[in-house]
Symmetry: D3
Subunit: 328 residues, 6 copies
């Protein structure tokens, strides 16, 4: 569809068809800079299901996004051609078929020249996205915001694929450069001390929530920029990295997390890095009675788009040298 007949930002948030940020719906775009793709799969969760309705809720709340990012000083809706590519045909009863479908759609969109922002669904959708990206680009640096390491070997006996295992698989499959893999925000009880240790042994730089508070946002961003450097970067953001007060609508909430302001600072602070793809997962609207989780997710998605808008606007110049990470 084309929505060009209606000047886009005259439309009010309560109005109209809910594509992401009122971007045109186009499942097979040509020449787009960015494609937003939903992966409404939630069969790999271990507690509260419901993330399958995450993409729809994020789209709905994205209509609040007025377009100009005051922190990063860019209007990604103007500087980029962005499309809403709709949702992958996931198969709730079959994680392998789902992951193949996701990989295929992400690959196809990337082949058209678009960068992909994937909206989950649960965290198992990140693995096929990483596969599609690494197929073209080789090993990736990964910044992984999450309350949980998601680097278990098997969450269910004999099952290699679930929402707790994608990053071990990705490491095994050489999709991630181990030294350039950062886990940020981990906290809460685990099955044992091995959970974090294994993540470290697999090559992750683990910054627990405690570490995030100790370092401060600037310190965390220093770590990230140092480890990622000029590598191609994929960012995966599990909304449960944020405290349940700010993001109740998720499947496995962990108390003691980041604030909405902190996660905004961290994402904005990625400015200057070479972001090649990203995903945002685990928004479960059934546990989000006032919609604040989806609103936060829509804003974080907008920050990712803004990073790409900045990159297009200011080629080559590193944001880091010019301003503080907070994006003021």
């Amino acid at each position: 569809m084309t929505m060009s007949s209606t000047p886009e930002f005259q439309a009010q948030p309560y109005q109209g068809i809910a594509t992401f940020g009122r971007r045109p719906y186009d499942p097979t775009p040509r020449g787009a800079d960015v494609a937003i793709l939903g992966a409404p799969y939630d069969s790999a969760t271990t507690y509260r299901s419901g993330a399958r309705l995450g993409p729809r809720a994020i789209r709905e709340q994205s209509l609040l996004l007025w377009g100009y990012n005051n922190a990063l000083r860019v209007n990604p809706f103007e500087s980029l051609k962005i499309v809403d590519a709709g949702d992958v045909d996931v198969v709730p009863v079959d994680i392998r078929a789902t992951q193949e479908a996701i990989e295929k759609r992400v690959h196809s969109l990337r082949s058209s020249g678009a960068r992909v922002l994937l909206l989950g669904g649960d965290h198992s959708v990140s693995l096929p996205s990483l596969r599609a990206h690494a197929r073209d680009l080789g090993e990736l640096a990964v910044v992984h915001f999450d309350a949980h390491p998601d680097t278990w070997n098997e969450e269910f006996p004999g099952q290699r694929y679930s929402h707790g295992t994608p990053f071990r698989r990705a490491l095994e499959e050489k999709l991630i450069t181990p030294g350039a893999y950062l886990q940020v925000g981990l906290r809460g009880p685990t099955a044992g001390p091995g959970d974090y240790e294994q993540a470290r042994e697999l090559g992750a730089r683990v910054l627990t929530a405690d570490a995030v508070y100790d370092l401060g946002m600037d310190g965390v961003l220093e770590e990230i920029h140092e480890h990622v450097g000029k590598r191609q970067l994929y960012v995966t953001l599990d909304i449960d990295v944020v405290d349940p007060a700010f993001a109740p609508g998720t499947g496995t909430p962990e108390v003691g997390g980041l604030t909405s302001r902190q996660i905004l600072q961290l994402v904005r602070g990625l400015k200057g890095l070479n972001l090649v793809g990203c995903d945002l997962v685990e928004v479960a609207p059934a546990y989000d009675p006032a919609g604040i989780t989806a609103i936060l997710a829509a804003n974080l998605a907008f920050e990712f788009l803004s990073l790409w808008g900045c990159a297009k606007g200011a080629k080559g110049g590193s944001a880091r040298s010019q301003e503080k990470f907070r994006g003021r």
Copy 2:
């Protein structure tokens, strides 16, 4: 947008962009049989606001509609070309500007050859829809499902337009044929005995909820068919005609109303009448925690589409002569 690349009913209800029934979004269609139009205006309500988000909620739940109507034996998505025309640019602070915008959009869609199913918004949106229909077609028969007569003169001192006055205005403006105007489902306390009397004096055939229960659905449908006859019929359905147990998500709920089954029977029983336009109003999602009001509204909208599908399929033949109204 065209969604034709994806076979439409393979898509699952949790998936994809929420246009009504996955119909293509087209604000300026050509050659469509039916256009679905949202009017997200709720400033004329007298208790709980929130009906502005009704069209969006109904669209979301419409993805449950699989296409074939087993009661009426028709698939309106196949037999009709239906588009989702999006929402009118309403102006919450200005009811006159809003009503003008609605009338203009309805008129424009009708001029393209499409019949219009309008989704409110509060009941004040019916007046401009009636104006647009009567402009082309002259006086209309009207079946009006509601808990309230909505034929007050002024709900707020000096204000002729609000959600309690549209049908008095419509009668004054000669949009409705008085003898062919039925109010169905009235109940609850009113300002005085004059509320129903005035409606009757204005020409309405009033069937209170008590009368509906006494006559039974078949008896009500007899009354409707008798009064409407072969006239051009506009149907306006305020979801509060249904009991709050079945439709909690509305602004001024009245207890003692119809069941979901009864309202389905009544709408299906309109088969054979010459339906030229319709609206469905007062769905307020903020008071609909499990979505059942929007699901009911989506199904009722589907019944309206099905009536048009039947009319197209079986030109001339009166459904009434062939089968009972319940649509089995």
Copy 3:
């Protein structure tokens, strides 16, 4: 306070201080026909507490009541002087102190000449109300709408007072005339067959929900009128007599109950009986997300007021001889 400076029914439901039906707040009225009194006590419940906030929620939703009862053809707000007497100073930790405080307030209001409509709170508040009424009037006929008999001897070991025992106590204390005591709407699992048998042995005429459906509303009303006759009647209505679909906001919901329409018919059908007092209990707003339980309760309270309005308007004439019970 006097609200007379504002014509009362110009005020819209979303507006103003929430006294019942916008009646003046007066804890110590003189010359009022009816006093509405809250008893916000819920410590005697056996499952979900929360009925202490019932009076406030009913008051809030009572602002929807426009004043004229179309079924009973009376405007109780005009024909009666009604006050909102506020709430009793209940003591959540002490049921005896609470019951004494309720009895004292009810007695005091009655001594001023007002009839009392008591809003619970849980069902334990009915006992002191019955005591205050019987103190003046002697033994009473009682119509008791409920899913549960509430005639246990002890619900907690050694505790004679709770929300499951008030009517056994009332019978023991000779507040109720056994042959003129009807329990209407009982259903659901009980501790044993003795629960209903004991009620019957104590003198209750038990009409289970099954019996209500078999007899129909007219049949039930025949039974009630026959047993009550010209006696002084107290009515106690536990909102859980209604099915949880229509009244989810209560502490011990029982499925398979009455509809909102049926309970309205039953209360309206009491017209012509000598109603001396009544209560409406067990509305728990925390389990009433769309407010429909409190709206139903406010309407039922309005029907009680209307019965008194009818009695004042048509002294002596029995409604039963003139029209059917449904109140059309």
Copy 4:
């Protein structure tokens, strides 16, 4: 655990560990008459997920069940040895592994001599339960309460197992006697007219919701008793057979359904049939804000237990000859 040290029904509903009806937890019982087993799997749903938390919610609300069934005149908690066998180790990412695990657990419990009441989870859990029953007993008569036929061949391309296909699979696998298979309560839009036709061609006796209303509950029960006769009967009850007003907490609600009273009548009316096993599925607590769906489900489970209690109490004598189906 043994809870025998606490007299069971002195415990109040707000109190204690939530096993079903306070029955002892025993995953490997010996000598039990009935085992209640949860199957918390919801990956086969096509709209709102969340039924995995159904067993827990039903257990919690089951604490309202006081033990004596007044309609069927039996206390199943006294007349039967009932255990809560906990939940199957389902595997959300693998429907085949899940179905194997369910079949194994049901078979094991049955081998211990217990009849099994299975609590879903989505409707895909019925297939392995039927397999386990038919393995011992041969082809079964099946009464299937549902809004949907669930006899599709494939709901997702190439996927034979989901929540819309179990009964086609069961018929193909000769688990069900075609002539003794009744579908009760079907309604709503389907993919085409073939949905019901296929069910009929496969041997189902289809009683749509319209048919249920036309026949009345007694008529439906006549049909059921006639078709089932003395065969071994398995009953599967999808809570969406009930209208969303009475059961909002489910994944794919269909308006126009049965009332809570009607479904209670239908289940009670199975008295006298040879019930060998049953399941109750599709309760999704995230859409059940006041808990009324889980309360209804707990009561329906209690009716199943009561049927077994009656069978034990009154061997050989057919209930049908003695009293009406409504169980009064």
Copy 5:
């Protein structure tokens, strides 16, 4: 009404008629120090409506306020004569009639000698309040807590009045002294960089949420005290200045906002300034399932009352010289 017969703070929060802080209801007070006035208008919102029910919700939660402010060491309910003046007769369909009605009520209350605390409603209600204050007092210093500048020229084409324009109108109408106008807490996407620039060009001192975090609460208060000085100060507080975690119940939530503690510090820190009037707007209870937004709003209203209590108690003495702003 007089509530003096009941010692006011013996009443418990669950009890009694919900006037603000149990203050007497008096729409036309004489000799009151402060009048609390509701303006239940929400037709000027651009996303979720519902703020019309804000005054009622704030009143209800205000019953939690025990009277003594430990931070500011004052009991405003004792040191001031405070009345609840009820609600303005707003007209949802007519913003001009509404604004006139508000201005008239505020003016009338001020003429009686009372200072006014206005409870919205949406932010459009501030303009008539400013007009009423400036009519008597001339240009005002304004501290404006908000996530949005609300200084657009037109939010809807051709409409000068809505909830996004009041402060531009106020500046145009010379109600505000430009150099003494501070906007505190702005953040989130805007239509373009011009939104903040225009606010600055119009004379506003803009302190974004980022600036607030950088300066700290003491730094912000330094700025405020410096710019306001001894001028007559009006404070307008849009609850969306607070993060949605702390205030989900609002129409256009913006993530990354202040905490409840921070806004409390900022309001308390106004001690010593010459506060002549204030409002608190945009509380939308339908999105506030646990009531925490209304509780916060009630506490902030209490802080405003406390500021007046301090001013009365300690005439002339500047609080700033004696203690830190945080009010310890």
Copy 6:
């Protein structure tokens, strides 16, 4: 029950019977290190009731606890024998009978050698727990996390026992060593300045929320360790010490409270003290729509268990000397 046949942490959070942390249910344990006991009593609350369902909600959410505490480096489920002792037989209508029952159960469990973690219920349950502990151990040091001092003399006239008085009673009864009694987190309006002063006069060291923010968590822990020293310590934690954003599900929320991270730091920082017993109270699930309050409570309970796990693991060694309080 024994759950040993199922390896405990293979079970997923959505699965199985909800005992705390899947610990065996045993109301009369022998040889357990810790017994978790529920006290589902909420009749002593002064605003929103509902805490009686707190123990059940905490148990349900405790299934998220994977066992290993990364901050304190201990797995209490492995290093300690923990049982779930179920709930006390409380009597909602009789606070004295309830307090006797609690004291008896706590005493009995302690006599078996177990330390007790008590889950409320409202704060009145702490007094009998303190009595049971002091009976064996003599006067106790108490750390009391709360928004309110709970040291009133009488909350209801003539009533010495309610949820606002337990600690005055405990001081009067010499259960607490005055100099070793710390109140942490107080804030919000009180009846007068005397509320805090009385607490101080009774011997409490009062650290208001303001003081907590000024001192920082390390400073608060210094104070606590200094005052408690080597005394036997009882900790009582009212969840309303936390801000309503993080813990909306409580009866008398106070804004401006601690974050979830801060309360976790404070509880973990108690490591090294001689913890003899503890309770966690005032979780009211009806106001906790996304479950985040119960999740926080479950985690805090887990921290208490972890403190005991640490104590067992590292006898004698003070944690304080080895690491910072935050537990990293």
